[in-house]
Symmetry: C2
Subunit: 341 residues, 2 copies
DNA sequence: TTGTACGCGTTATCAA
DNA sequence: TTGATAACGCGTACAA
């Protein structure tokens, strides 16, 4: 027997499809207890589930939200998703998750797929430097929230949720100077055109300008530990005074620890070490590592919350401006002290 | 202007809806270059996207797969998802991801939602001890793959993908005995009715029977580090000979390291320490920790691959048996040696 | 090579 | 309190 439809229920329960539909949607107001029970029984017996796709045809919302993260194997992304999901699920929204792998091409393809799914809203951790890559979304009047990274030329109508990268790095730069560090080496490994790492570098550079310390950003690209070790060794050997190395992205800390071991550097004696986002394991390494830590789950919840607002307004006003609720949201970065500097 | 439909394209391009439909579906066979180009141009200009929900009405597949993981904040789940996604996306399937939070109630609700979405297939990391919780899925003839855990009474028609938990723990138990350990304390923290942890305990118990060593499983439930520390201390102080403590689930290792610090135990001197699934950070702790490591991404790919087979057969044979491809798949657990035992 | 017309399962409108 | 029926956007059998 094929899947039950609303018509099957109606026939079996000796009512009209209208009544069944009302029942499904909880409009018990105009329904006798008797019919209600009869329909209920039939629905259970035939294991009827209303089909989302058929419902979508008659309604202007799908109750599905699309999410595109840059790298799902990074813990940042999974906690971000958890925050999003925690907020959206109780509100009655399902989530389609996609992984762009830090690739512009995959991202673009995925946006198309999600638009085809008629998602009610979209949360993206973007890869493209220029916002034009996302124009199809706004053209579509689909509510959009950007997270973690900002692309250039982003319309004021689009929301943005990021951590306080610049400020936290500025503060850390000042603190390092206060502790007598004269050189700061922020290491980044950027997979895409844009990332939160660049705002972090800016923060350090500002601190350098204010304190007179040397800030020398280093982009390690796809290079392995051997290359990183060589470059670091060469650079540091030319520097006067105390040097601190900053891992601007969580996974890079793994490599740095190996590199330090290879060079036989220990911290904080030979060199200072600070990292972003270790996801709470590094406190078991030696006496712990000084950290700047984002709260990805909070970021996710903020995204979802803002998106719900946008979608709510879109639903209320119909043809109105779905972007009334938009804003730029910045969440704090925690500083976890440890004797690695 | 409202979203473009196939009819809009047809009108603008001066062709019939049939032609547009053929174009969308790549049936260029019966189409002149001229019309093809004209349609192409119009589609681009109006930014037309076919609506998945309308297509679904006319077809018996949605090209959407549902995935329910037990705890998305556990790295196991995110890598599992990555494996699934990596396999399904190129095959043209979108993925709805849900997080059951190790809760039976949420899981049951989520299954209903996914069935309403008419997913073509389902991958679940199950919470319920008894398979009856999933009967609605098989009643629906929706292809299903269970991963990581097995529920009782699972029909032969349902696939299962798990890591080689029992065997790997048996081998480790034997190895521990060989190294002179006389007591093995596997610690588990189970959030749901079933988990992979129980097969692991079985493996150790089998080893205990063979070697004569004492195996004393301990369930720490929701207790905090203080409780764990007290219980461990009390237990170990009563034991003769060398003792090894096993963290049967990755996150528990965090707690154990703190507990060890609190009790001032060091490994391997005072006690042996082994853990499952640290996700590669623990090698920086002291001289590293002995590990049994699953490959969640490989598990995910195996799930997706099997599901694709099931769905392929379902699609081919129409009313035929979609479960022909079903099997029990077991993947190896890697053993990463380190001087913590 | 292109077009017409119907039906998929549901909800909303209107009528009874 | 209930029911009949027209849409929603698309794919396809059949007609031209």
């Amino acid at each position: 027997m094929a899947k039950a439809t609303i018509a099957d229920i109606a026939r079996e329960a000796n009512v009209s499809v209208t009544t069944v539909s009302r029942f499904i949607n909880g409009n018990y107001g105009k329904m006798s207890e008797a019919t209600k029970n009869r329909v209920q029984e039939t629905v259970d017996r035939l294991q009827y589930h209303p089909r989302a796709s058929a419902q979508k045809m008659r309604q202007d919302h799908t109750h599905v939200v699309g999410v595109i993260v840059a790298d799902i194997s990074n813990v940042f992304s999974s906690l971000l998703f958890k925050g999003i999901y925690t907020e959206l699920q109780p509100a009655g929204y399902d989530v389609m998750l996609m992984n762009s792998n830090n690739s512009l091409g995959e991202e673009s393809d995925e946006i198309g797929r999600l638009l085809s799914q008629e998602v009610d809203g979209l949360i993206i951790q973007p890869n493209a430097r220029d916002f034009s890559a996302y124009a199809s979304i706004t053209d579509n009047r689909t509510p959009l929230v950007m997270v973690d990274r900002r692309s250039e030329g982003q319309p004021a109508t689009v929301s943005s949720v990021t951590a306080d990268n610049r400020e936290s790095c500025l503060r850390l730069g000042l603190e390092l100077a206060r502790r007598g560090y004269e050189n700061i080496l922020p290491l980044s490994r950027t997979g895409s055109q844009i990332s939160a790492q660049s705002s972090r570098v800016e923060g350090f550079q500002e601190a350098g300008e204010r304190t007179g310390s040397l800030v020398m950003p280093m982009e390690v690209g796809d290079h392995g530990q051997e290359w990183i070790g060589k470059e670091l060794d060469r650079t540091v050997s030319h520097l006067k005074g105390k040097t601190a190395i900053i891992s601007l992205i969580g996974p890079l800390l793994f490599d740095l620890l190996d590199v330090f071991k290879g060079l036989d550097w220990s911290f904080p004696e030979d060199i200072g070490l600070v990292s972003f986002d270790d996801w709470s394991w590094s406190r078991y390494v030696g006496d712990g590592i000084y950290l700047l830590q984002q709260d990805p789950q909070a970021l996710g919840q903020a995204c979802a919350h803002n998106l719900l607002e946008q979608m709510g307004i879109a639903a209320e006003t119909g043809e109105g401006d779905p972007y009334g609720a938009s804003r730029q949201i910045t969440l704090p970065v925690a500083c976890i002290e440890a004797p690695s500097i």
